[in-house]
């Protein structure tokens, strides 16, 4: 593996005693245990203290945007599952949403509710992995398995809903592929009853543990200006104190009918926008998702779950940019149609891509152990970065 583009200048410094010291160049990844997929960082460190950490991405590039131009409008939906396989529902939703905007398709109300239910479940699904792996990266293994245990329950729910545990392919252009199965709503509310106390338990087990707080509080704070400048989105942006949520501020689907709060980082343990804020915002969002789900359960109307959409869809020429709030924040889909059966261009702007670009800036003068916390707290998911 060449270091092309990563030529780290070896800096020699001489202290007063005449001892020459060299910086150490570390290659962290792509097979490092805590880089969440195949990410690589080239670190220049002085002992434990990093002088810089340069991200190297592209190891998981599967050219999904190119594939979009080859497989047609309906056929691309299963591929969107792979854009961010930790939170596939949002990618399904984003693509369907963009296509509906392009083709002017009206989505039935029940389908929108199905989508919101699936989205919010998926948000819990993704945040559980995020906070769980964060705890594991900090060194506590047990919270991770507790998170995975709850995630397993969710997987069972998804399996029943759409037949898959990870690559859901649940949404279709114009609605959703399957209606909610009979008795599924009861299982969902049973899950919520069981899950909410377990979030509290998780908080007691790890969130406010002194060691955990010490590891995260005050580490790598991102100010609101920086966050906007680097286009951090979602929980990462909100942790910096910006109260912005696409669901609330540019509502789509049926979110205007639902009541929920947008938790933001307050710097309760350290500085606003530090790792702890990014972590705790996710914990709080899971509770909000539970709230949304409970409302959906009571409000969901009857009716069809998919609109009449031609199988050979040819949206009129034009482009559209839609944004939706995925688990990793504002996800942008820029889709260009040239009026044929194949998309002309699809650009997916993901939260992790912008989040990783801020790493070199905020990781200066942190310790190597802190870099792990930063990666975990930004909730970087490698497939979403590389697409």
């Amino acid at each position: 593996m060449s270091l092309a583009g990563f030529e780290v200048e070896v800096q020699r410094s001489k202290d007063d005693g005449g001892v020459v010291t060299e910086d150490m160049t570390l290659s962290m990844g792509p097979q490092h245990p805590s880089t969440h997929g195949v990410l690589r960082f080239v670190i220049r460190a002085d002992g434990e203290v990093m002088k810089e950490a340069i991200p190297d991405i592209g190891y998981l590039h599967r050219s999904i945007e190119k594939i979009a131009e080859k497989v047609g409008w309906h056929g691309f939906i299963p591929y969107t599952d792979r854009v961010d396989y930790v939170a596939a529902m949002f990618c399904n939703h984003g693509w369907s949403f963009a296509c509906e905007q392009l083709a002017g398709i009206e989505v039935p109300k029940r389908a929108e509710y199905c989508r919101v239910i699936a989205d919010e479940l998926c948000r819990i699904h993704s945040h559980l992995l995020s906070v769980g792996s964060m705890a594991m990266d900090i060194g506590a293994f047990t919270p991770f398995t507790h998170a995975i245990r709850e995630r397993e329950y969710l997987n069972d729910l998804f399996e029943e809903l759409c037949g898959a545990r990870l690559t859901f392919h649940y949404m279709r252009i114009g609605g959703v592929g399957w209606d909610l199965p009979t008795g599924w709503i009861d299982k969902l509310s049973h899950f919520l009853d069981r899950f909410e106390p377990l979030v509290d338990e998780y908080d007691r087990l790890i969130s406010f543990n002194k060691i955990f707080v010490e590891r995260l509080a005050g580490v790598a704070p991102v100010t609101a200006e920086e966050a906007i400048d680097f286009n951090l989105v979602g929980p990462n942006l909100r942790a910096s104190g910006v109260r912005y949520d696409v669901r609330k501020d540019e509502p789509y689907s049926v979110y205007p009918e639902l009541e929920f709060d947008v938790p933001i980082g307050t710097g309760e343990k350290g500085i606003v926008g530090d790792c702890f804020d990014r972590y705790i915002v996710r914990m709080r969002e899971m509770r909000e998702s539970c709230r949304i789900l409970r409302q959906c359960i009571t409000q969901i109307p009857d009716g069809p779950v998919i609109a009449k959409v031609p199988r050979n869809l040819k949206p009129p020429a034009g482009d559209v940019y839609v944004r939706l709030e995925s688990a990793r924040g504002d996800m942008g889909w820029y889709v260009v149609s040239d009026g044929t059966a194949f998309p002309h261009r699809c650009k997916i702007r993901t939260g992790s891509f912008s989040a990783i670009s801020i790493v070199p800036k905020i990781s200066r003068n942190l310790m190597i152990a802190d870099l792990i916390a930063v990666i975990a707290s930004l909730d970087l998911v490698a497939p979403e970065i590389d697409r």
Partner: protein
């Protein structure tokens, strides 16, 4: 104070004149085409003008239009203080696409421009660190161009396998 697209466009026209093309479409997708070399200035103005305050470059995408003979760079801007959005478009010729960089205006543009450079071969003048980001350094061509042909192999590794379904 949120401003509608026509207002944003009018203000740009007032400042830059013919550099800014006519307003296309409306609502969230309302856009204006900008002269490639002046995009940085326009961006700077959009970001700093107190009435506009487009402090966030939400998305930067490159689209190849072989028929029209240009590559279009699309800037989706968003303003957190005012909660309004605007779209800028820049058309660069396909054979030598050169666009001024906006990485000095929005830090997010740094990586997005690298991606556009990598996948579409657009050169961003003045970019501090313009090198490939997703593809390997020695990858031939720019994959998202419509006329890109995938090489048969890369360093001796075949890029495709024969279909098992061949009759």
């Amino acid at each position: 104070m949120a401003m509608d697209a026509a207002g944003v466009h009018a203000r740009l026209r007032e400042k830059f004149g013919d550099v800014v093309g006519p307003l296309e479409a409306s609502g969230r997708n309302a856009s204006a085409t900008i002269v490639p070399a002046r995009i940085a200035e326009v961006g700077e103005f959009l970001k700093t003008d107190p009435a506009l305050r487009f402090d966030c470059l939400s998305n930067l995408s490159g689209v190849d239009y072989p028929k029209q003979g240009h590559i279009q760079i699309v800037y989706h801007l968003f303003s957190y203080p005012h909660r309004h959005a605007f779209v800028l478009r820049v058309n660069a010729p396909r054979d030598n696409p050169q666009v001024a960089t906006v990485s000095g205006v929005w830090s997010h543009a740094d990586w997005q421009e690298r991606e556009a450079f990598d996948l579409l071969g657009v050169t961003f003048d003045g970019h501090p660190d313009l090198r490939r980001i997703l593809m390997p350094e020695d990858w031939p061509g720019h994959p998202l161009r419509k006329d890109f042909v995938e090489p048969e192999s890369y360093h001796g590794i075949p890029t495709s396998r024969e279909s098992l379904l061949k009759a």
